[in-house]
């Protein structure tokens, strides 16, 4: 077994992060968070960026961490909330809103699943001074659920539903996350994928190709495809 936990560099960040807090954070570093975070995905982005709704008052001062997440949460009859688990959702789908979101919200940390493309980091996150943290696993819903100490507010719950609403959470020792993109736009997934891809050719060696190719396996329209 690889010596996993002992070797991994681990940091705890106090939120909202201030100028300089993210300097020198390297990809692959384990991160835990303390403070306030909010969830936001396509529902919130459309509401704010396309329909022009105002951000909740004081959001930028309260938190600069946007979690791509829909919690497993329920609203109780007395109006209180019960939060079971929280897990990230895949971030690549939100690329088209990211530049204007970073500008509008002043977010400095994006948390999600699977990361975004290296171009997205360099074109949008780096200029905004933001990093990307990926959840681990991706199913650490119970560990992350433990880190949520309170629901501070929920915005647009009626209109957007549980999954798309903006949940504002107070968190403590909230993690673990891995630094996927740093302030320079280096990407852990890109780096690892590149190394793995180098060996793929060998894997397929000796396996003959199927009789018919599928669309997407070639760009040549003269090829007969199924």
């Amino acid at each position: 077994m690889a010596d996993s936990q002992a070797q991994r560099k681990t940091v705890r960040l106090k939120l909202p992060v201030r100028e300089g807090d993210l300097d020198g954070l390297e990809i692959g570093t384990v991160v835990y968070l303390d403070g306030v975070i909010y969830t936001g995905r396509e529902g919130v982005y459309k509401k704010v960026l396309e329909e022009g709704a105002d951000l909740p008052e004081g959001l930028a001062e309260l938190s600069n961490v946007n979690f791509h997440c829909s919690p497993a949460a329920a609203v109780e009859p007395d109006g209180s909330y019960s939060v079971g688990g929280v897990t990230a959702t895949a971030s690549f789908r939100f690329s088209k809103w990211m530049a204007s979101w970073l500008e509008t919200s002043n977010a400095k940390i994006i948390i999600g699943k699977g990361g975004m493309s290296i171009e997205d980091y360099r074109d949008m996150l780096v200029p905004a001074g933001a990093i990307y943290l990926t959840t681990v696993g991706y199913g650490t819903g119970a560990l992350l659920g433990r880190g949520i100490k309170a629901v501070r507010a929920v915005h647009w719950l009626e209109e957007l539903g549980n999954a798309q609403a903006m949940w504002i959470f107070e968190v403590e020792n909230f993690g673990p996350f891995l630094v996927e993109s740093d302030l320079e736009g280096n990407s852990l997934f890109e780096q690892q994928g590149r190394l793995i891809n180098a060996n793929l050719e060998k894997l397929y060696e000796g396996l003959k190709a199927p009789a018919l190719s599928r669309y997407g396996e070639t760009d040549d329209r003269k090829d007969e495809l199924i």
């Binding site: 497993a72 897990t87 991706y138 659920g145 549980n162």
Partner: protein
Amino acid sequence: MIDYQTIETAARQIMANAAIDIPPDYRQGIEDMAKWEKGDLSCFVLQTMMDNWNAASEDRRPMCADTGLPRYYVKVGNEARLADGFTGLERALRSATALATHDIPLRPNRVHPLWRTDHNNNVGINAPEIDWSFEPDVDWIDITTVHKGGLFGTDYRMLFPGDGIDGIKRFFLDTLVAFGTRGLACQPAIIGIGLGGSKDITMVLGKQAACLRTVGDRNPDPKIAELELELKKMGNSIGMGAMGFIGNAMVADCHIEVGYTHTGGMPMSVHAFCLSSRRATVRIHADGSTEYRHDPEWFTPYMRRETVEWPIAKHNEKQSV
């Protein structure tokens, strides 16, 4: 006679069991993989997942907040009698889904595909899905719930007989590499493969192979069992581990199910059950007593039968009366 309330109560319980407690066979499979995984990052992910399962069981909270698309597999004994019939059973399962969604809580993932309407209870048109199977000569019903994510890790392809085992291996690798990148398949996973049948059944068999068989289980056909082990080994030699990081822990186990298919084709599906392989089963006996377990025992010899007749004493007796 099995009544409505018994079914609803048992179904609510397996919804909680599935969402919170990782099945022991899968946990063992991942613990074993963590022992030989050499990739540092991949190993860190496995350790974290094991911590997460412990936290879920201790806190009684869902192990993953994407509680998937909760659904059911029901095996009905030929001699079982339901007080409210089969539509009553379906109603009990729909009700249990709605109640469990609020109580556990599960994420209300189910929405209309076009209007995105969300009833906040995981119930809607054709949801939750209920698959049926039957078992001769017994008077119990087995209900299994599976909470599987719905976006990544599954693919279908029409191969042809001439493509042979090479075609199967290639498509297996294609799917693992494509969905394993950045860990979108949430590997290491139990990989289910459907071979043959009509196209829809190819998908059904592969999904059931992934979700309804336990780590370590082998297909009763020795040659298929051998192929399962060969593909498992192949998947674990891609060089990719958890989250698509460098490593080898990709396939916790590989299960293949087959169905007789068109003579000209060899349709194939690949399904990845995730790092939160959520399944739980209850058996409800004729007297209303219940037994809970983690092995769905879905693929019985009766289900895999190949002949017209099924040689069971009772069945034959009835025929001869």
